[in-house]
Amino acid sequence: MDLNSKLKDHILDSIGEGVFTVDKNFRINFFNKAAEKITGYKREDIIGRFCKHVFRSKLCYTDCPIAIALKSGRPIYDFESNISTKSGEIKPIKLNSSVLYDEEREPQGGIISFRDMSDYIMIKDIDKEQRFHGIIGHSKQMKEIFELIREISTSDAPVLIHGESGTGKEMIANAIQITSERKGSPYIKVNCSVFPSNLLASELFGHVKGAFTDAIKDRPGRFEIANNGTIFLDEVAEMPLQMQLQLLRVLQEGSFERVGESVTRKIDVRIISATNVNIQHALKKGILREDLYYRLSVIPIHIPPLRERTEDIIPLVQHFLRKLSLMYKKEILDIEDRALDLLLNYRWPGNVRELENVIEYSFVRTNNSNIIDSNKLPANFNENKSASPATFSFKDNTSENNPGHEAVQLISVLEEHHWNKTEAAKKLGIGRTTLWRKMKQLGIDS
């Protein structure tokens, strides 16, 4: 074997996909390490054998991927199939195949690279188990939301989803769309907060060539693309007031104009919107138009924060552990009681998203054990072990509902640290400046 061949073998051995090559008689002449791992065969046992005797797939007799590439003259990609492993297990795989030609373009063999899809399929299956379109919710509140989604499945009425960041507003929107009669039609998602106000109009309603400097050609907006389907407007309350007026017109009349054009276009789009801001506060401050709010929230859905539905925490933890065990190929399916207590008593300002991150952090840190220990949780959980971990958080949007309660909590932390703002800020996991700003906002005199 020359140096080049050795190098090629080394490269092929270092990649995660299974790779094997066959000669023109379909005898295997190369088999990389990943292929060994996926199939359970050792390369020395199968080199020289016919590939069909090794993989024992029906495809060998009907649609051999290399034969397809031979006939079409083109490589094939992401071909789904099953193979039998050495132990007889049937594994779903996705493969790419290509023909190896000599200098005279005469086929001399073939190459197949393949990925084991078992874990992916298992993760998908887990996601389907006992949940509502991928959403885990065993609590009464979540079950009521699922019931409401079922009830409105024949309606085209606008839905406004409200909930703190990380509660799963987009997943609820997806569930509404997939259960609706528009499920086979376009489903367009727009995050209203990511576009500057001048671009948002063009993004939503499109523009004509020359409407502004970069408008080099006519472009339809998201509403046009979503015609006859559904549009999901995330963070709708972040939309500039001028745009809110235009959106109101779409809701009322189903019509709009592209930027730079006077032609009025008609559309039929179901609008699902979402926000994490305190709506009453936004209405009071004039950030959100009242008329738009009432139009958007024909069907309002409030997703309670995780701390208000603690019965969802355990199923969520179990779900994340199973998912992570498959992803990381390391089986940790349980969590120590003390760690679970800490999770159950935490306020979860970042909600389900934060819980997922906490579980992943702890999972990654757990080695040589099949159970997550409390000391593997992030530092803020263990720092608060002596006191209640359910401490104050500025990220908690609902605290805006009850500034008195927030002030009491803040004063209590300050008292605990003898009004030492550095210590109090440390305890709260925030900066000293943020603490000072919050004290000022709540009227707490230092």
Binding site: K24, N25, F26, F50, K52, H53, C60, Y61, T62, C64, I66, A67, L70, K71, V99, E106, P107, Q108, G109, G110
Partner: protein, 148 residues
């Protein structure tokens, strides 16, 4: 189309698809005996028995061991699966075709069985031409093996 595709068709037991590609490959292949060995089986399975007989005769005259050594696993020789499962497509009501097909195919698996079918053909009146020569070649091979 290529020899490689012919090999795949043969491996997938698509004998009629493999046949024409193997015929094309015969003139250019670096291993014509392997092609011939496969092509004989294709001809039997597509009922082109005269072509099968001609090629079979030429091959065993040249190297009878090449057919005798065909291995179901190492060479993907389909003789065992075709004979064992009665998948041969020879018309059973035609004694000539039946005995000829069986005689050719059995040489890939069992030389004594093969000889019996060729002897049947001889007794059916095919006592001139290639049949008696094939009987001689096979008989000599059996004798040689017994002497070893």
């Amino acid at each position: 189309m290529s020899e490689m595709l012919a090999n795949q068709y043969f491996m997938a037991r698509k004998f009629s698809d493999a046949e024409s590609l193997l015929e094309n490959a015969l003139s250019t292949s670096s291993s014509p005996k392997i092609i011939k060995r496969k092509l004989i089986i294709c001809y039997v399975q597509t009922n082109k028995l005269d072509k099968a007989l001609n090629l079979f005769f030429r091959l065993i005259k040249d190297d009878i061991d090449f057919i005798l050594s065909a291995d179901p696993l190492l060479d993907d020789c389909p003789c065992a699966e075709l004979l064992g499962n009665d998948y041969l497509t020879i018309p059973p009501d035609d004694p000539y075709a039946y005995n000829l097909g069986q005689g050719i195919m059995w040489l890939y698996c069992d030389i004594d069985h093969s000889l019996n079918y060729f002897k049947n053909l001889y007794n059916l009146g095919y006592s001139k031409g290639m049949i008696p020569e094939i009987i001689t070649l096979i008989s000599e091979k059996i004798k040689q093996s017994a002497e070893k």
